[in-house]
């Protein structure tokens, strides 16, 4: 599934749900009414989008720190010849939520999300051991709130 498989209603639906879902007994019915479609139609579309891998998350967005969890962004400078091996080693950790290759000397950037805050430092140590590379740990110090919305 890709963008071309989405019709105008799918796009409206995605854009609308990025703004959040009301906490009501029948939240989808409320959104369907706003969009002028039937609830069943909305449920079918949403299930298709989720099964088609178009959504990375659907439901509650947790505040990791308030749940007692840990969260950080970290980077590695990976030698080109080692890239596949290091990718595999890093992604083997279930705590790695995102991992992106970026154009910079620090070319691997990953987000760790751990159940317990203290686990972040342990996982970073384990990643250093597993990869043989120094980890640049850059936890957030302050968040500047944006309106999270990507119009498609």
């Amino acid at each position: 599934m890709n963008l071309d498989d989405l019709d105008g209603v799918d796009r409206h639906l995605i854009n609308r749900l990025q703004d959040g879902l009301p906490l009501e007994e029948r939240p989808y019915a409320a959104v369907a009414e706003e969009l002028g479609i039937a609830e069943d139609d909305l449920l079918g579309r949403l299930a298709r989008l989720r099964e088609g891998g178009m959504l990375s998350r659907f439901g509650p967005m947790y505040h990791a720190e308030r749940l007692g969890g840990g969260l950080t962004l970290a980077a590695l400078a990976v030698p080109e010849a080692d890239f596949d091996r290091v990718t595999e080693a890093v992604n083997a950790f279930p705590e790695v939520a995102h991992n992106y290759r970026r154009e910079h000397e620090l070319n691997m950037w990953f987000v760790l999300a751990t159940e317990a805050a203290g686990r972040v430092a342990e996982v970073l140590d384990e990643i250093e051991s597993a990869t043989g590379l120094p980890v640049f740990n850059m936890p957030k110090e302050e968040e500047f709130h944006v309106r999270l919305h990507l119009p498609i």
Partner: protein, 177 residues
Amino acid sequence: MSTATPLSLEADRSPGESDAHRRLRALLEQGLPITSQPWATLAEQVGMTEEEVMACVRRWQAEGMIKRLGLVVRHRRLGLQANAMVVWNVPDERVALMGHRLAREAAVTLCYRRPRRLPDWPYNLFCMIHGARRERVLAELAAIVERLGLDDLEHRVLFSTHAYRQCGGRYAREGAA
């Protein structure tokens, strides 16, 4: 259902939290059920009533544990191929002001202050800009630089070339439920 002993960390963290609440949280992490009455669906699975589930989620929202109910798109699949992390080296006394101003820009989807890692990494303000193409992202960035008068700030644009993993963070595991 009381299977294994709850993880001690879990117990320590939320002493007042019942097994049903922990199960609810773990289930919710997999996403909200796509059913007409999703709270009733969850309630049935964890042995609570629909009202109890909704009250619980409402409380978690009020306490800030749940930031919002909604959707996060897999941006590459949706055609937003260009994903730029723009990093800035901002004097410490200006960084809060700059962060707030950048976050107000429509093109900016995340904005954080992070520590410098000198000498390799002098940048302390990070923001994300997504777009269909690199040229569009760079044009957005140029417009922001001009609008906010950021010419004097050292910055770098780190486009991503591959996403090796993009999934939601998991903060409560099934095993902890």
